[in-house]
């Protein structure tokens, strides 16, 4: 790797580890100092390596510098705390042994604990995702702004406020007690899933960033399933679901970065390794008696990796959606369920059910009706597709519907 490529690479890989360890050591109230010391370490590296060339072991070098900077900070602090401010007594005695433990185990533990601190229900999910990207994934502020289609100031403010709030709530960087594990883990999984969706469905055209968001979400989830205390069925189901989805990542975009719809995807670009990983985690998720929404969504995602239009596929998808909707309603799940109903039962039944949904502001609602009426009553099909066309907000959406409309009128002309 070239020198100029090494530092950004190391930054991405190592920033989050050092920050997690230092924050854990200093406590959440000093998280900004931990971030500053870490950034400062990379600055020192850039300057020194620029002049002297790369050290033999850059990671060890970074850890050493970070350790020294952290020790200096702790020592300065200790002098203040123990000699200057003893009468104030507002803080407990700070040890003069400022050991900084950058062993793989402590790095891993600190990152996991940090995950629970950041995904705390006291801050908004938007703030949780922002902080996760910054602190758990080592994203730059500009990259985060790009992912959210906003500017750096907004992100800086959002992160600042979130950290303030976590400090005010006196959130500790530690794993929750066993009795609280499941409910706190649920919050962590929710954030990871949002992070993944941010990448998978984002409006941002930046494919590299979108992909990285997805892979970071998967990496965080993997840390959870690889740790004994956090490895539960829901976490495995979520990881399975993300693997199945991510298997289509390459097929979902054409050369110009535009979205390619499922039906038009080149299945040769689907990643078989990712699909089998998904199967592996889906198996692992099948113990315990609780079926989470991730289990059901992973099941649906599994069937999406099976292209052939079989009765079995659609019957399974329909039943999974039936159950998913009973756990958590969403308009998109309602529409997908109705589509599966048309495939598993009949178009006529699905039309009756679709009309009950009455999602008249949703372009996909009319798209679905257009699809269902097709070949039953093409006039109604066209009417609905035209309504969808008016409502759709994306260029891809418009192009898809226009192509459908053209195809229908072509068919009418022939007959």
């Amino acid at each position: 790797m070239k020198e100029e490529a090494v530092i950004p690479h190391l930054f991405r890989m190592e920033y989050r580890k050092i920050v997690a360890v230092l924050s854990k050591r200093f406590g959440f109230e000093q998280i900004e100092i931990a971030e500053d010391i870490t950034s400062d370490t990379f600055l020192t590296a850039t300057q020194t390596w620029g002049m002297n060339g790369l050290p033999e072991n850059p990671v060890a070098w970074l850890y050493n510098v970070a350790k020294n900077k952290a020790k200096n900070h702790l020592q300065r602090n200790a002098v203040f705390e123990n000699k200057i401010a003893p009468e104030l007594k507002y803080r407990e005695f700070i040890s003069l042994d400022p050991d900084i433990d950058l062993s793989p185990k402590n790095i891993n533990d600190s990152q996991l604990q940090m995950m629970f601190a950041i995904c705390h229900p006291s801050i908004s999910s938007e703030a949780q995702i922002g902080l996760s990207l910054r602190i758990l994934c080592g994203f730059g502020i500009e990259e985060i702004a790009d992912a959210f289609l906003t500017n750096k100031e907004t992100i800086n403010k959002r992160l600042f406020r979130a950290k303030e709030k976590l400090r005010a709530e006196k959130i500790d960087i530690e794993l929750p007690a066993t009795t609280q594990m499941d409910s706190r883990l649920e919050a962590v999984l929710a954030t990871i899933y949002l992070l993944f969706n941010e990448g998978y469905y984002s409006v941002s055209q930046n494919k590299t960033i979108r992909k990285e968001l997805c892979f970071e979400a998967m990496r965080l989830c993997k840390m959870l399933v690889e740790n004994e205390t956090t490895n539960n069925p829901s976490a495995n189901a979520l990881l399975s679901l993300m693997c199945f989805h991510a298997s289509r990542f390459e097929a979902r975009f054409n050369k110009n970065g535009e979205t390619v719809l499922y039906d038009e995807q080149d299945t040769g670009l689907w990643n078989p390794e990712m699909i089998s990983q998904g199967g592996y985690y889906l198996n692992r998720s099948a113990n315990g008696d609780k079926i989470s929404k991730y289990h059901l969504e992973a099941g649906i995602a599994y069937w999406s990796t099976q292209k052939p239009d079989t009765k079995e596929k659609w019957e399974n998808v329909l039943q999974l959606y039936n159950r998913l909707l009973q756990i958590q309603y969403s308009p998109i799940a309602a529409l997908n369920r109705t589509y599966a109903l048309s495939k598993a039962n009949s178009k006529e039944e699905a039309i009756l059910e679709a009309e009950k949904l009455n999602l008249i502001e949703n372009p996909f609602y009319f798209g679905l009706l257009g699809e269902l009426w097709l070949d039953i009553d093409n006039k109604k099909s066209i009417e609905n597709f035209k309504k969808a066309l008016v409502l759709t907000k994306t260029e891809t959406g418009r192009l898809t519907i226009q192509a459908k409309l053209a195809k229908i009128s072509e068919g009418n002309f022939i007959s």
């Binding site: 019957e315 329909l318 039943q319 959606y321 039936n322 159950r323 909707l325 009973q326 309603y329 799940a333 309602a334 369920r337 109705t338 109903l341 039962n345 059910e353 009950k356 949904l357 009455n358």
Partner: protein
């Protein structure tokens, strides 16, 4: 929107009236397709099936096995839905597949909110 409880009553005890495993699977699909349709309208609140065992407690410390005054009208389960009014609730309930069986019934009751 108001909440309504649907009580499903049918004979779940008489042996010869119970469906074969294959038929049961068909019934389950019908039931799930019906409930899924309600949930797709964001009108499903909750619900459970009930097992066949039960105890009935009565005045004067009387406890009896089997909860059923009338075997044909055992409560097999309940579902809570959201509906605009009684008519809306009844319309949704009318799709319940147990109504394909003679003698079965669905009772629709409005949940009373404390004023």
């Amino acid at each position: 929107m108001e909440e309504f409880v649907l009580l499903f009553r049918l004979d779940i005890l008489t042996k010869e009236k119970q469906p074969s495993p294959e038929l049961l699977q068909v019934y389950m699909k019908q039931y799930q397709d019906w409930i899924g349709g309600i949930a797709a309208q964001n009108k499903f609140v909750g619900g459970k099936g009930l097992s066949t065992e039960g105890r009935v407690l009565k005045y004067n410390n009387v406890i009896t096995d089997g909860p059923f005054a009338e075997i044909k009208e055992s409560i097999a389960g309940y579902t809570i839905i959201r509906a605009l009014d009684f008519d809306d609730a009844v319309k949704m309930a009318s799709g319940c597949p147990i109504l394909n069986g003679e003698g079965n019934s669905v009772e629709v009751r409005r949940v009373q909110n404390p004023k």
